[in-house]
Symmetry: C3
Subunit: 150 residues, 3 copies
């Protein structure tokens, strides 16, 4: 799905440096793979374009940060579609590891962890840190940032 | 959930004044408490950081602006989670009143009211006014605004 | 629902030219009419205000770009609400055609087409082109753009 990314990269980075936004800050609020894949595609594409990329997992999105929840996330798809996706895309675990390796920053939401009774040692290893809404707003309110609620 | 907010406030307000966005404009399009809580947390945290905060309730989100709909919003949670949330968070009614008291502006969407056959006197008292998509876009397109569709 | 739009148009366009964002870039990720209507209302209102408007249909949103999917999109509503909406709003087909005529640009997401095994000739005639995440990010990261994930 990154076809054409490299072709665009140089042009876009030039544009970004001159004029546009250079950070993508995603709020990932849903637990299903149907919203996890678009989030990861956007975050890794942003990195390929030379942008900073942050994923702030909150509410149902926290399910993607536990080993069991990340597997169960595929249940939103009917079995036939699960097979098709498995042929063309990495698993969510592989994709999150690739995102992390590409420099995407992974943040877990502290009030959600409190609400669901989760501690940091129950989360997957890709989590960089645990932050709250104020830190998210600080990141997203910078003039060079764009932000999406997914 | 506002832990750490005050610690960040001074730094962020300084940043915001110099460089970043100073208004948060939320479109609240879902009727369940699972998206209402994140919306209210973001809006009140924005106010605590010295930002302007607007909530534009549209489509299913309009359910949160009627007394009955606001109570039924908790039905998205299994009973056990409802109990946990009640221990740690204010009710949606209390939270919306607190948001209002903190200066969050509450807008109801006029085409949605028309679609659902609602009049303003059926809405909760926290509603500031009834606006349409053009007023939302005017607020959200200002250069100092950030906007999320929730 | 466009009542009041013209009254606002001159003022907002003046504002936009001086200071604000002049493009609205929507990611349409859901397949139901409940999110399609708000998307189309926002995009056409943006055009009425003199802004550029782009709709990037991705994931479940791709269903809105096939003739059958666009009809089935109304199934999210109970029959009574379907009737009410039909009285006050154009059909999704009519609305998308009107949006297109008003200058809204309609983009289909290439990785989603690949995932669902769709080719361009299966899509409705309103589609302008097929793009990927990098082109979306290029559009949305411009300093004069605002973007929403719907």
């Amino acid at each position: 799905m990154l076809e054409g990314t490299k072709a665009h990269a140089t042009e876009t980075m030039e544009h970004a440096k001159k004029d546009g936004k250079t950070s993508l800050i995603l709020v990932v609020s849903k637990g299903g793979a149907d919203m996890a894949y678009p989030s990861l595609i956007l975050a890794t594409t942003a990195r390929a374009l030379g942008m900073d990329a942050h994923m702030y997992f909150t509410f149902w999105g926290m399910q993607l940060l536990t080993p069991e929840g990340r597997k169960k996330a595929m249940d939103v798809f009917p079995p036939e579609l699960q097979k098709k996706i498995a042929e063309k895309f990495p698993t969510l675990e592989q994709f999150m590891q690739a995102a992390k390796a590409a420099g995407v920053r992974i943040h877990a939401c502290s009030p959600t962890m409190d609400m669901f009774g989760l501690s940091k040692d129950q989360l997957v290893g890709e989590v960089d840190d645990v932050i709250g809404a104020s830190t998210y707003l600080e990141l997203a309110s910078r003039s060079d940032a764009m932000t999406l609620f997914i």
